[in-house]
Amino acid sequence: MPENEYEYISDEMLAAVGKEGSPTTFEVDKTMIRMFARAVGYTDPVYYDEKAAQAAGYRSLPCPPGYLGTPVFNPKRESSGPGPMSFGPAPKKPLTRLLNGGTQLEFFGDICAGDVLTSTGHLAEIAETKGSLGTMVVMTNKSVYKNQDGEVVAISTGTVLRY
């Protein structure tokens, strides 16, 4: 099989497009919501006090939108990058730097402390672009989050630029 014509993207990387990774369990818990809310400056007590959250109509502390971007640490995996995705197969030549190209979150149901989400990620797209920083590999990763009832509650799409 002839080698593809990309500068960096290897056949193994192309073959990884669309393949689902193994699911990651992501518990939404009160302590982590409080830490996240504090880190981004929330002052509304619904993010800290379960009684206040319930008085406002939530089952427990609601999940702030960016909370889903936090990674689940896996000591057996080298990458500690954001999200449950690793970078997958190696490029043809090493890519040492990376930029977060953006994140898109879609919400389909409420997410509160106590929920146990399962996220399954896959590499949705891979491309090469040439710009002022040279050739970049643009990887778009998609993660689907289901709750304990099997409902899809969120989809996150993240773009990583490697160069």
Partner: protein
């Protein structure tokens, strides 16, 4: 919540970003990339003037402007691009403006700027109108 085209919300989401702010986010998110907390690494190995904030911290701060306005469960989607790095000492203002309302869904243009007026986050959200 009866959103209509032209409705806006604007708030200062962080003043005078400190290394403590950045470290709090590192702890909360579990993202311990040293570029965000270790000045010698950021300066000597990567050539940056200092550590800088996580892009996802800017997104989280911008998200607070949206959820304080629309309610914790008001968002249907929220997407951002990071247009500039955020450095210690920066003060960020997040602004949302309803640009369209269709079939009960409001489209909101989102931009967060630093103290020089440069955008650091640009994006779009949708919410129940």
């Amino acid at each position: 919540m009866a959103l209509k085209v032209g409705d806006t919300n604007e708030m200062v989401v962080i003043e005078n970003v400190s290394r403590t702010h950045i470290v709090k986010y590192a702890g909360a998110s579990g993202d311990f990339n040293p570029l965000h907390h270790d000045d010698p690494v950021a300066q000597n190995m990567a050539g940056y003037p200092s550590v800088f904030a996580h892009g996802m911290l800017s997104m989280g701060l911008t998200g607070r402007m949206l959820t304080d306005w629309l309610g914790p469960d008001g968002l249907k989607s929220f997407g951002v691009r990071f247009t500039k790095q955020v450095w210690p000492g920066d003060t960020l203002t997040a602004r949302g403006e309803v640009t369209d309302v269709k079939d009960g869904v409001a489209t909101i243009k989102v931009v967060t700027t630093n103290q020089n007026g440069d955008s650091v986050v640009e994006g779009e959200a949708t919410a129940k109108a």
